[in-house]
């Protein structure tokens, strides 16, 4: 899932300073699971904003709405009947959702209420961890199912480096060395011979280096 982090109330209040009528949009997908931008977080943020404004004697009207997804225009269309009643949209979906809402309502200012951080998994209730950087050329079949791009702080394809000590990364003593994880997993899978294969230089044009990416499936287009 895409993991995001709520911005501080202070930052959001600063962005909202000139506005009195706010449409607060949550998203029912990834940001709901990582407890950053779902229906519940919409409720908490709306309450925080109302309390904060009331304390300062300022008015604010907030419409709370959580869409099924903010990355599909069919759902974004659901707010069209009343979007014009609000001065600004505050979205707490991921960066993709926030932008897409802005693309659909071009005369509306759309403000971000979260910082979108990574593609990850839920380690346990309340703990999320990064697993993928969307590099566009997956090497998991060569590295025991552990991604060297996302899990190694240097994204080394042939690691580990000299900063690996007792299975931990020099960047942070609590951070597992990605290449230690790869070697451990290869051992478990009885595939340690793969470690001897040199992974060639990566073609980063499939990643961000090739500019913004687009995917097309002609057979699905209407």
């Amino acid at each position: 899932m895409i993991v995001a982090n709520r911005k501080s109330l202070e930052e959001i209040l600063n962005m909202l300073k000139p506005y009195k009528k706010v449409l607060l949009l949550g998203c029912n997908e990834c940001v709901t699971v990582c407890a950053a931008g779902g229906e519940r977080e919409v409720g908490v943020l709306a309450s925080e904003l109302k309390l904060s404004r009331a304390k300062d004697g300022q008015e604010i009207e907030i419409k709370e709405q959580t869409l099924e997804r903010q990355c599909d225009h069919e759902y974004i269309d659901q707010v069209r009947p009343f979007v014009g009643d609000y001065e600004v949209i505050l979205s707490i979906a991921c960066g993709a959702g926030i932008q897409y809402v802005g693309e659909k309502y071009r005369t509306k200012i759309v403000l971000p209420g979260v910082n979108t951080t990574f593609l990850g998994v839920t380690l346990e209730q309340g703990v999320w961890s990064e697993r993928c950087q969307g590099c566009g050329e997956c090497v998991l079949h060569m590295t025991g199912g552990v991604c060297p791009i996302a899990r190694c702080a240097k994204s080394l394809l042939n690691g580990p480096c000299g900063g690996s000590s007792n299975g931990k990364c020099e960047v942070d003593k609590d951070l597992d060395c990605g290449w230690q994880l790869i070697i451990d997993r290869l051992k478990e899978l009885n595939q340690l011979d793969r470690y001897e294969e040199i992974i060639p230089v990566k073609d980063w044009t499939t990643s961000r280096d090739g500019g913004p990416r687009k995917r097309l499936r002609e057979d699905l287009r209407l």
Binding site: S8, L9, E10, R40, G43, V44, S47, E48, K50, L51, S52, A54, K55, D56, G57, E59, E61
Partner: protein, 123 residues
Amino acid sequence: MRLNYPTNVKIVKVPCTGRVDILLILHAFESGVDGVYLAGCLEGECHFLRGNLRAKKRVQYAKKLLDEVGLGGARLEMYNMSSAQGQRFAEVAREMTEKIKALGPSPVKNRVRGVQDSRGQVK
């Protein structure tokens, strides 16, 4: 026991403090209350195992939110007592009332729009 406790304390009954969501607490403040406290079972004696411990964590989190908002986290507290401790219940009610009185009325009292009053009417 015929114990007295301050009349300003209004009780909201829940099956377990684990039921108390952060939104419930925030909505109480929106409706203009000056303070909120949770009276949970003693730690280690939750009928639902960890309900009061969950509530404790939520209270800690909600305190931070109240600090950010500017109301002050001190307006929210968590207490633990058993159902056999009537004396302690009355004592806590007095303690919290005095604490909140010292803090003064909530700065958002009657100021949040769209809140239902006790008769269900929207202000």
